[in-house]
Symmetry: C2
Subunit: 274 residues, 2 copies
Amino acid sequence: MVFYLIGLGLGDVEDITVKGLNVVKKCARVHLEAYTSILCYGLDKTNLEKFYGREVIEADRTVVEQESDSILSGADTQDIALLVVGDPFGATTHADLVLRAKQQNIPVRVIHNASIMNAVGCCGLQLYNFGETVSIVMWTENWQPESYYDKIAANRDTKHHTLCLLDIKTKEQSVENMMRGRKIYEPARYLTCAEAAKQLLTIVERRKEKGEKCAYDENTMIVGLARVGWDDQKIIYASMKEMAEIDMGAPLHSMIIPGETHPLEVDMLETFRP
Amino acid sequence: MVFYLIGLGLGDVEDITVKGLNVVKKCARVHLEAYTSILCYGLDKTNLEKFYGREVIEADRTVVEQESDSILSGADTQDIALLVVGDPFGATTHADLVLRAKQQNIPVRVIHNASIMNAVGCCGLQLYNFGETVSIVMWTENWQPESYYDKIAANRDTKHHTLCLLDIKTKEQSVENMMRGRKIYEPARYLTCAEAAKQLLTIVERRKEKGEKCAYDENTMIVGLARVGWDDQKIIYASMKEMAEIDMGAPLHSMIIPGETHPLEVDMLETFRP
């Protein structure tokens, strides 16, 4: 039989493809990767079960990464599916799981869907002009990495746009709960466009102090995107300084630092001025 | 009312999302962008009309690019949709059409889907390690551009993967038919992985003769992809020399020239050896 990896798209239950929905309905078992991005919103187990009219089994990170055999179990005699937000090969490749299935001679089929990696084209910047994608991590008082800055700088050097995926903190434990072994988790936290812009500005300040030539400054025009593909999607084209003060609303947020822009790209971006 | 841009995904009628299908059913008029990639396959007007249970109006390139008002006409009082293979902002941004709608104060909604730009992750290479995407054009005897070589070389320099979209020739007229003004079109032609590999090898031969240091050679391992997302999808990981002799079957083909590969990426690629 077949192990299906099914993309759920950008976050609404109806974003699954017709093909994906048909497979979900016929599978013996359907798992849901429950640690990624937006499950805390509309796309939770209860909503999905109601929409599919069937049981869905939540699989947290430990299960997907370390106990993959429990997901694959029975796939030699029955169809089994794992649901993944976005595309199954978007931010995480699920290569481990696919390799494990192949080792067990279980055929793997992928049902693709939109992911933030291609949906960002909606701001008007051409997808093929993007360079490497970076992840901007949420700074703490004592941990303020800057490695993504150098990647943005490299893309700016070669005139490419940079998609910045913004950090998500889910299933974090307080130090006390962790020490006491209590599985109580803090509310999920999401890096916002404003916070990310502030971090980027702090980095250039530090670099300037060291006498470095900087890849951008507070007047550099950037793109903030929130809830891409949702009814209340918001796109803003503003200077980095402005972005640091703009409330883009509920998560998920992403950001683009454009490289060289073409006239048609600019025409579209200009429609997103605050 | 609303103008909808709806992605059809990778080429099967069932690749539309549930949300997209619901919108198609309620719209007053549904146009189909009929000049892109794979419409000549399963995704033609007749199949779509049967699947949707409604009329679909074909819009060729001239209509979409120069007569967009005929598509937008009535969208101030009725819901109108344009169906697009892949994602509406994949290879073509449809920015012109979106701008035109905005000028007319027509709300635009995008229903995203998978496109080759994100679906290529299925070979195991991480999407965020890709650099600029290139298009490889089909050479003729007298027209053999090499500009994509320099982009691949730049990506290889910075250790990034390069997705190569392979040329499609549809609605071409013979010189005679064109001169006589006869709208008779030659059969569609699609650049194959083998042909693309041969062109890439010819380019490095020419560069070597000029004494240039080359970005790859015939032993460089590359990825060929055919019919991504289809039941008979084929992925091959082989040297460029081998790829030049491999028959990947029916179109569409794409190719990836990897940059620096990580162990997990290699593990996945190795499963696609011929």
